[in-house]
């Protein structure tokens, strides 16, 4: 369920780091807590994210959750498909429904994040 090559935050984001590049998403646990996702608000390409700061939000019918940047870096690509099909986040949060790709400004950030096993313990899975 929770890929071993991802790192996780306690706010339920994941990041996949490949060299200087990272892909950010929200976890399956997050989407299931939120229920049917109706809207995703994401940063624009070129935005500089700083670790732990709000980078966007996801909405269900009656709730809004902020998304926090798990690592610092500059947004290089945004998953535009989510704008018209937010339901993808419910279907495939760890795959198709990634949120943004970034160029990491401090790759060491990732060391502070939870490995899959620790995250699963954290959410009680």
């Amino acid at each position: 369920m929770y890929p071993e090559n991802f790192r996780y935050t306690k706010e339920h984001e994941w990041v996949l780091v490949e060299g200087d590049n990272g892909t950010i998403g929200i976890t399956d646990h997050a989407q299931s807590e939120l229920g049917d996702i109706v809207y995703v608000d994401l940063p624009k390409v070129g935005t500089r994210l700083s670790e732990g700061a709000t980078m966007g939000s996801v909405e269900s019918v009656k709730a809004v959750s902020d998304i926090y940047a798990p690592v610092s870096g500059e947004v290089v690509e945004v998953n535009e498909a989510l704008a018209t099909a937010p339901e993808k986040l419910n279907a495939d949060p760890h795959g198709d429904a990634w949120l943004v790709k970034i160029r990491l400004s401090n790759p060491a950030d990732v060391e502070k994040l939870l490995p899959a096993a620790d995250y699963q313990t954290y959410i009680g899975a």
């Binding site: 809207y39 909405e59 269900s60 019918v61 009656k62 709730a63 809004v64």
Partner: protein, 438 residues
């Protein structure tokens, strides 16, 4: 008491069920020093007869049955009987905000119709379910523009209703939103484009104009829209006289429309309750404040309506909401919806032409202060407005607004309004009092 449906023995049974001996035991948890020692110093309860009598007596102390030539944001239009009959249906009058869609389809369907008609009238793509009134819709629109543009300055025309501008400055004061006014052309009465040009800059979030403006002048949108948008600012179009939308070109050049619907069968009621609206382009839908109704289906596949995009609102987003607005003016918006459906496509146009014709008759006999075209309201020169109004009042006619009250530089001018309710005979009396060419 007639509003408390319980007999003494029923109260006793209920107290026994709860397990307390007297009704006062129910407030025993209130700290002693907090409890009210003496009864409220208010008269004892009154019968229905006495209540009706009291308000009739107060009504008789007011301008009962007077003809009026006041406009200035509150207009004297005929209210069709049907509108007032329907709005008193229990199911409309005594229901809450339609959060439970399954048993609120009446309101929800009607609000959807309301939103649709406001879009048709304004040329916008989205309209909310209503705001408190025009004066609060203006700052809400300005705040919306700040969120969209991520800029801070608001430029507002001096020809926007003076009290709307006052409310705007109260709202804006602590939100880091500097508000700057720009002037009007003293010949035409329209906005002074050069003054606007000199004040607009890279931090301008919106330019706010009203049409017909406070002087009744119809503004030209093309140039101001082009100027605002070329600087990356939004154009906010304000209307206070909604009947004008029956004949004026829809303000499609605007980015946001903020207006007051009082003209649509809402009684003047000494200034409220009225209903405001905000309408905009689809791309700004997530920044619009207030409630929105959307179309969907129920689990049986039938068309249904529900409140939607609620995550913009305070009960979910709390301090990050688009506005703190919760209660709106649903019942007043219902009156407007009924009014619009009674008049319809042809009726609203015909009504607007009657207003135009009456006001132009009145103006044709007086000396106008401004040159720009006008709808049902205009500024006339008068040597002594107070004396004229005093004289008219004796004939049971309320004269126009002394413009010096809000614009010291326009003292000696009166803002007059004529609607379909204005009779020629009364207009002739006004003309005579103002020394016009009868």
């Amino acid at each position: 008491m007639r509003y408390l449906p319980k007999s003494p023995s029923e109260r006793q049974q209920m107290l026994e069920a709860i397990g307390v001996s007297s009704i006062d035991d129910l407030v025993a948890q209130l700290p002693e020093d907090v409890r009210l020692k003496n009864p409220l110093n208010l008269p004892p309860g009154k019968s229905e007869f006495e209540i009706v009598d009291y308000f009739k007596a107060r009504g008789a102390e007011c301008a009962n049955g007077y003809a009026s030539f006041l406009g200035a944001g509150v207009y004297n239009h005929y209210r069709p009987v049907v509108a007032d009959v329907l709005v008193q249906r229990s199911e409309f009058l005594t229901s809450y905000t339609p959060y439970q869609a399954e048993i609120s389809q009446g309101h929800l369907t009607q609000i959807f119709e309301f939103q649709s008609m406001i879009c048709q009238l304004t040329g916008m793509e989205v309209a909310n379910a209503s705001m408190y009134d025009g004066s609060s819709a203006v700052p809400e629109a300005a705040m919306m523009a700040v969120r969209i543009t991520k800029r801070s300055q608001t430029l507002v025309a001096k020809s926007v209703h003076p009290e709307y501008r006052e409310v705007l400055s109260t709202y804006a004061k602590y939100q880091g939103m500097p508000v700057t006014e720009f002037g009007y052309d003293s010949q035409t009465g329209r906005i002074d484009l050069d003054d606007l040009k000199s004040k607009i800059n890279d931090d301008t979030a919106s330019v706010i104009i009203q049409s017909p403006n406070f002087f009744g002048c119809v503004e030209e949108l093309e140039a101001v829209a082009e100027l605002a948008q070329s600087k990356g600012a939004l154009l906010i179009y304000v209307f206070a006289e909604a009947v004008s939308l029956g004949i004026l070109a829809p303000p499609v050049q605007a980015d946001i429309v903020a207006g007051e619907l009082q003209s649509f069968a809402i009684s003047p009621s000494y200034g409220g309750p009225f209903a405001g609206i905000i309408a905009t382009k689809e791309k700004y839908i997530r920044q619009i404040p207030g409630r929105l109704v959307g179309e969907t289906k129920d689990s049986r596949g039938n068309r249904a309506f529900c409140l939607t995009l609620s995550t913009r609102e305070q009960h979910i987003r709390r301090e990050k909401a688009t506005s703190n607005i919760c209660t709106n003016q649903a019942l007043i918006a219902l009156v407007a919806t009924i009014y619009l459906s009674i008049y319809g496509k042809e009726g609203l146009r015909e009504l607007a032409i009657q207003n135009l014709s009456k006001a132009h008759y009145l103006a044709s006999k007086l000396e106008r202060r401004f040159e720009a075209p006008f709808f049902n309201e205009f500024v006339a020169k008068a040597s002594d407005v107070a004396a004229v109004n005093e004289q008219l009042l004796e004939k049971k006619i309320i004269g126009g607004l002394d413009l010096g009250r809000f614009y010291p530089e326009l003292a000696g001018n009166v803002l007059l309004c004529a609607t379909e309710m204005s009779k020629k005979a009364d207009m002739d009396t006004v003309i005579e009092a103002l020394g016009g060419r009868a």
